[in-house]
C-alpha cells in the first residue's frame, strides 16, 4: 500500500471536516476521492500533502510516517484547481522550479523540463508566460511542474473543475493515458461522478467527513452499500418503493401480469436519451429509454404503460445497509 490513512480526524472550529477516516491507497493506482462539495475530500487530500494538519490519526506515505512532516519533505506533487501558476515565470521556469530548488545541474534541468513539456504537449510554449496559455494548457503545465520532481505521489484537487465541459473531457482522457504511461500513485478529488467512473481504478466516496464506500467503479455502481452512494453515482428512481436506476426498468405498452401499471406524465428528450415520467398508484417513476425505443413504442403523454425490473438489474430497499440483492423481487414472475 502506498498511502495509508488511519483514523484521521479534522475540525475547523465546530465544523467536522473529517471524522475518523481510514483509507488505503494502493501503489501505482489512480484513485478518485468522490463526494459532494464540503464533504471533506479536499481536506483529506490536503492532509496527505501536508498543507493541512490532521487533529488526530496518522498518514503514511510509502511506509514512512508523514503525519508531522512539512509539505516540503513529503515528496508529493500537488495540482490545484486554479492552476496556482507562478505568473511571473515562463512555462519552462515554472516546470523547472522544483528542480532549481533541488539545485540540479542546469543541463539536467533543461533535459528533464523539455521531456516533460513534450509529455504534456507544451513543447512549443516553454517561453510563454502562464497568462498567455489557455486554462487547459495551464493545468497541463501545473501537472508537468508537479511531475518534474518525480514525486512518490501525485495529488490533484479538482484538477478540471475550472475548465469548460469539452476541455474537461479531453483532459480527463489524457490524464488516464498519462497515468498509464507514468504509473505514479495518483489521487484526485472530484465531485463529478462521471469523471470518477471514467478515469479512476478505485473510488473512495466521502460524504459529511466519512468514508461511505471504497471500491472499483463497477462495484460502486452495481453494488452500492448505501442509498447515498447509489444516488450519488448515477440517476436513481423508485419502483414499488425500491430504489432502481432508470435504465434498469423495462417499459412496455402491453399489459404484463406482474408489471406495474401507470400513465406517461412527461417526456423529456436529452440528446440520444428520452426520460419518461410514469405516474402509477402512489409514485412517479422515471424510466430512461433510447430515442429509438421511445419512438418505436409510440409514447406520448397519457399513454398507458407497464413497468418491470429488467433481468439482472439491481434494486435497493431504501435505508438498507447491505448491497442490493442481485435478484429483483419481480424476476421470478417473468
Amino acid at each position: 500500500m502506498s498511502i495509508e490513512i488511519s483514523n484521521v480526524g479534522k475540525r475547523f472550529g465546530d465544523f467536522v471536516a473529517l471524522d475518523d477516516v481510514t483509507v488505503s491507497i494502493p501503489a501505482g493506482s489512480l484513485t478518485a476521492l468522490l463526494g459532494p462539495s464540503g464533504g471533506g475530500k479536499s481536506t483529506l487530500l490536503r492532509i496527505i500533502a501536508g498543507l493541512e494538519h490532521a487533529d488526530s490519526g496518522r498518514v503514511e506515505i510509502e511506509g514512512v510516517d508523514a503525519t508531522s512532516l512539512p509539505p516540503q519533505k513529503r515528496d508529493v506533487g500537488f495540482v490545484f484547481q486554479h492552476y496556482a501558476a507562478f505568473k511571473h515565470l515562463s512555462v519552462f521556469r515554472n516546470v523547472a522550479f522544483g528542480l532549481e530548488i533541488r539545485k540540479r545541474p542546469k543541463d539536467e534541468i533543461k533535459a528533464r523540463v523539455d521531456e516533460l513539456l513534450e509529455l504534456v504537449h507544451l513543447d512549443q510554449f516553454g517561453d510563454r508566460l502562464p497568462a498567455q496559455l489557455s486554462g487547459g494548457q495551464r493545468q497541463r503545465m501545473a501537472l508537468a511542474r508537479a511531475l518534474a520532481v518525480e514525486p512518490k505521489v501525485l495529488l490533484l484537487d479538482e484538477p478540471f473543475g475550472a475548465l469548460d465541459a469539452k476541455v474537461r473531457k479531453e483532459l480527463r482522457d489524457w490524464l488516464r493515458r498519462l497515468h498509464d504511461e507514468v504509473h505514479v500513485t495518483t489521487v484526485f478529488v472530484t465531485h463529478d461522478q462521471e469523471e470518477a467512473l471514467e478515469v479512476a481504478d478505485e473510488i473512495v466516496v466521502i460524504n459529511e467527513g466519512r468514508v461511505e464506500q471504497i471500491g472499483t467503479p463497477d462495484a460502486l455502481y452495481d453494488e452500492p452499500e448505501s442509498d447515498f452512494v447509489m444516488s450519488f453515482l448515477g440517476p436513481v428512481t423508485t419502483l414499488r418503493g425500491q430504489l432502481i436506476r432508470p435504465h434498469d426498468i423495462e417499459l412496455r405498452t402491453t399489459e404484463a401480469p406482474a408489471a406495474r401499471a401507470g400513465t406517461v406524465s412527461r417526456l423529456v428528450r436529452v440528446g440520444f436519451e428520452v426520460r419518461v415520467d410514469v405516474v402509477s398508484a402512489d409514485e412517479v417513476t422515471t424510466v430512461s429509454l433510447t430515442r429509438a425505443e421511445a419512438r418505436s413504442l409510440g409514447l406520448e403523454e397519457g399513454t398507458a404503460v407497464w413497468l418491470e425490473v429488467a433481468p439482472g438489474a439491481q434494486v435497493r430497499t431504501p435505508g438498507a445497509t447491505a448491497p442490493g440483492s442481485g435478484t429483483p423481487t419481480t424476476a421470478g414472475s417473468r
Binding site: G50, L51, Q72, G77, F78, K87, H88, L89, R145, V149
Partner: protein, 247 residues
Amino acid sequence: MMWFSLLVLIPLVAIVVTASEGGWSGFADALTNEQTAAAIRLTVGMAFLVTAVNVVMGTTIAWVLVRDRFPGQRFLEVLIDIPFALPTIVAGLVLLSLYGPDSPLPVDIANKRSAVFVAFLFVTLPFIVRTVQPVLEELERDVEEAAMSLGASRFTTFRRITLPSIIPAIAAGAALAFARAVSEYGSLVLLSGNLPMKTEVTSVRILSSIENDNLVGAAAVATILLGISLLVIVTFDLLQRRLVRRG
C-alpha cells in the same frame, strides 16, 4: 488628456519656462550656490534613506496586516492613514512637541538632521503599506502552497514566488514615498530649524528664494528637483521590471 494637461503638464511647463528665463547660467548659479547644493544633497539623500527604510518596514507592516490576526488590528489599520489625513503643519507641531526641546521624552532632535529624517519617515509611512496591502490580499495562497510542495522553504517561497508578485507594488509605493519626501515642507519646517548648510531642505530653500524675489532661481532649483524625481521614478520602474523578470 486635457484634464491631465491642465492639472499637471501646464504647471510643470510653466516652471521649466520660468527657470529657462535665467538661461543656463541660472541653473549653474543655482547649482554652484553652496547653500542650494547642500539643501539638494540633504533632501535627496534623506529621501533615499527614508524610502529604503519604508521598503522594509512598509512591506513588513502590510504583511502583518494581511497575514496575521491580532487584537487591535482595525485600530492599527486606521492609524496607518493618520499621516495622510493630518495637515502636514499639524504633523510638524506634533513632531515638535514630541521630539523638540520641550519634549516629555528624553529626546531632542530639534535643529538636527535627524529631524528631517523623522519628519520624512512620518509622512511617507502609509505609501508602501497601502500599495502593497491590496496586492498581498489578492495573492492566492495556493501559489505559495504549490511552491512549498515542490520543496521550497518558507523563505525561498517568499523570495522567489511572493516577493516578485509584490515588487511592482513596492516600487510604486517607493516612488510615491520618495516624491513625497523630496517635496515635504510643513512637517519638518518647525522641528528642523532650517539651518542653512545643515538642516535646510530644498522646499524651504525654494520658498526663501521666492521671498527674496529670486523667482528664476527658485524655478531653477525646482526644475533640478523635478529632474531628479523623474529620474528616480523611472529608475525604480526599470529596477522593478528587471527584478520581476529574474524571478
